[in-house]
């Protein structure tokens, strides 16, 4: 695959790993947070942790749109889908996410609600055209990456005079979440960010400037391929060693400093920030999500229907908040792997395959056992076979 395989070259990776090992100061530790779930997934799927020296540690951030959506919004979507005459369209990875009482869109569908899995906003528009007697609601989620396609769908619905199409808007904002991480109780213990890739293709580089100017944290925007991540880690190590905190762009093949101005203008035309929005694991964050502007209220499901969002608390035993802040690791949570597993997630980090706990469970949990075995062998002076 052109433009993919080049970034999965194991030999090149070992070269970068050697450079990281050579340049990382053994006297200090380097903790970098990858904000995006896509990076978390790549790190776990390609076993990148094995290639990094022990003093360079990756901390998995909150950048998975499925994980951070609070239970109350999922409940609201399920209630919307249960309204007579409503067809709810959702991206596939929201279908299994549990709301309250273990209910999910998949279960609601099995119970008779008209819920359709779509691959794009345009699928939802097409369905609206096909069933003019029904109210088609698109369950819009995601960071800055998925917001422009939602905006395009609304503009097309307006042009096509579709009277039965609306959007249940749950689009959230990356810089607001990064700020919350840096300003939260004690701040997150990291030396820098591997910055969002797809988000940055839309918003560019400037929105992260505060990380450097206010918090002295470097950001390296990186693509989702494993070599991208390795290269970004090397660039972050160099910044830390040099005492720099710049916003650098490893993903120059897709990200420009200014981003996609056309997409930005379209989003600004249709959406405005909400005063506050609840994030799973992070609590209520000011100006961290979008809602439709009053001029587009006829496409806003929250204005068209009575969408009740009843607060639903996360399980108090769940350590997602601490894990998302890098204060704890997935195996540190007492629910991890016991009651909380990908097939029955309790906390945000276990919800989608891109969450920190799900990635660790699905790809990396053997490391805990390997470590435990090594310790047992060491205690019993057992020889470890070569």
């Amino acid at each position: 695959m052109k433009y993919v395989d080049e970034f999965r070259d194991g030999a090149l990776a070992r070269g970068i790993a050697n450079a990281i090992r050579a340049e990382a100061d053994p006297a200090r530790s380097y903790r970098f947070m990858e904000f995006c779930g896509g990076h978390t997934h790549a790190i776990a799927r390609y076993g990148l942790e094995d290639l990094l020296p022990p003093n360079v540690r990756m901390i998995h951030g909150p950048g998975c749109p499925v994980c951070v959506l609070p239970v109350s919004r999922i409940d609201a979507a399920i209630r919307l889908a249960a309204e007579p005459g409503v067809t709810l369209c959702s991206y596939g990875d929201m279908m299994r996410v549990p709301g309250s009482d273990g209910m999910s869109l998949l279960k609601a569908k099995a119970g008779g609600a008209d819920i359709r899995m779509v691959y794009s906003t345009l699928d939802a528009l097409r369905i609206a055209g096909e069933v003019p007697h029904r109210e088609v609601v698109f369950f819009a989620i995601g960071f800055e990456t998925t917001t422009p396609p939602t905006a395009v769908a609304i503009k097309m619905a307006e042009r096509q005079r579709l009277a039965n199409f609306s959007v249940f808007c749950n689009h959230v904002l990356t810089p607001a979440a990064m700020r919350a991480l840096l300003t939260g109780a004690g701040g997150v213990p990291i030396e820098g960010f591997v910055g969002p890739a797809h988000v940055s293709t839309v918003i560019g580089m400037a929105p992260y400037a505060f990380c450097a100017t206010e918090f002295a944290k470097p950001v390296v925007i990186a693509g989702f391929e494993p070599l991208d991540v390795m290269q970004a880690v090397l660039m972050l190590v160099r910044q830390v060693n040099d005492g720099r905190h710049d916003i650098e762009n490893e993903y120059a093949r897709a990200v420009t400093p200014a981003g996609n101005r056309k997409a930005q203008a379209l989003v600004a035309e249709l959406f405005e920030p909400r005063a506050a929005f609840e994030w799973r694991g992070l609590g209520s964050l000011p100006l961290s999500a979008l809602t439709l502007r009053p001029a587009y209220a006829r496409f806003d499901a929250e204005a068209r229907f009575t969408v009740e969002t009843v607060a639903a608390a996360d399980n108090p035993a769940c350590d997602c908040g601490a894990i998302l802040r890098g204060l704890k690791r997935p195996p540190d949570c007492r629910l991890f792997g016991k009651v909380c597993r990908p097939e029955a997630p309790v906390g945000a980090c276990m919800v989608s395959s891109e969450g920190a706990c799900a990635a660790h469970w699905s790809y990396g949990r053997f490391r805990e056992h390997a470590k435990a075995n090594d310790n047992t062998r060491a205690e019993t002076n057992e020889q470890v076979p070569a």
């Binding site: 695959m1 993919v4 290639l51 279908m95 097939e343 790809y363």
Partner: protein
């Protein structure tokens, strides 16, 4: 009511096999059903056992341990690049028998058809099923037809059963993998699942990926002939893909696996489609591949026999059975790192970004 239609005379006039549709009366057990069987199923599937026209097939003694299996086919869409529900039903059932080292002998087929289903499509499915059965040398010896009201099925569902005979002395079973054994895969993975997804709504690809649907009993016979005493077990990685199959065997045998991603063949167009949809080919279904666990002494013989067969041309030694109380399937990634290959949690769904 089975395919025992010979003694009933069909209604006047022949079925319109080009534009006609299945009606509820075609499943009622009366003349309409007799006509459907006589004009659709008998010509497509006909053989001496079916021609007996009884409610059961009387079969000669098999001479050995019997292997029996049953399976249901609800694939959507019914027709896909490289196959259809008819040929798939034959291949799937033949393969379930073959994985025990059995020589498949006979199949049965039960059709549940939705009212209004085009007769032309039913003929296409029956003809494809007959062709696949003849090619595999495994006749459909008895069958059944039911018609349900419109909306109560998705076109056609097929249930099959299969009977085969296992050669004396051969004992292949999922609990027989032992540390040190080799893991051998017969070819590329993910072809069937991606072919199915490629023709679902709104997912047209420029490159056509064809299903690998195929009967594997010939390949298995060659492997048995080459190295029977060294074969521990075989399994076809269908739904859940290679990942589910390895995890199933790990559980059954109480072992772990260490596999090497670089040795697992994924066709470029399959890899590209999976990339686009955010799927992992390890979890995508196959219908013409098998995984074998083999004692080290038999690896060369098994690989040689497989590579000489058209369905095993790309056979590869992809890993080893290891001692592991946690029964993990560990994989060295093509990138040089390590990971586990876990069971899939629910259905593999596309990511949003």
């Amino acid at each position: 009511m089975t395919f025992a239609a010979k003694i009933l005379k069909p209604r006047h006039g022949r079925l319109d096999l080009r534009a006609g549709r299945v009606e509820l009366s075609h499943g009622s057990g009366g003349r309409a059903m007799a006509q459907l069987i006589a004009e659709v199923f008998q010509p497509a599937l006909g053989n001496a056992f079916l021609a007996q026209g009884n409610d059961q097939a009387i079969l000669p003694p098999a001479g050995g341990r019997l292997a029996m299996t049953t399976d249901g086919y609800v694939v959507s869409p019914l027709f896909f690049p490289g196959g259809d529900i008819g040929s798939l039903a034959v291949h799937g059932t033949v393969n379930d028998l073959a994985m025990a080292g059995a020589t498949p002998l006979y199949l049965t087929a039960s059709f549940i058809i939705e009212e209004g289903f085009p007769l032309a499509d039913l003929v296409r499915i029956a003809v494809s099923m007959g062709r696949a059965a003849r090619a595999a040398g495994v006749p459909v010896v008895t069958g059944d037809t039911k018609v349900v009201e419109r909306g109560k099925a998705d076109g056609v569902f097929i249930s099959t059963a299969g009977v085969g005979v296992v050669p004396a002395g051969l004992d292949l079973s999922g609990d027989r993998a032992r540390p040190g054994d080799a893991v051998i895969l017969s070819g590329s993975i993910g072809d069937h699942g991606v072919a199915i997804m490629s023709c679902r709504e709104n997912l047209k690809f420029d490159t056509e990926v064809r299903s690998d649907s195929a009967p594997l009993h010939g390949l298995v016979a060659a492997m048995v002939a080459a190295a029977a005493p060294h074969l521990r077990l075989m399994r076809d990685p269908t739904r859940g893909g290679l990942a589910a199959t390895l995890n199933e065997i790990a559980q059954q045998s109480g072992v772990g696996f260490a596999v090497d991603e670089a040795r697992i063949l994924v066709k470029p167009q399959v890899a590209a489609a999976c990339e686009l949809l955010g799927l992992d080919p390890l979890f995508v279904a196959n219908e013409g591949k098998l995984l074998a666990v083999v004692e080290p002494a038999g690896v060369d013989a098994v690989l040689g026999a497989m590579r000489a067969h058209p369905f095993g041309r790309d056979a590869a030694h992809i890993g080893t059975v290891v001692k592991d109380e946690h029964r993990f399937v560990q994989m060295t990634t093509a990138f040089g790192g390590g990971r586990i290959v876990d069971w899939l949690a629910g259905e593999q769904l596309p990511r949003i970004c």
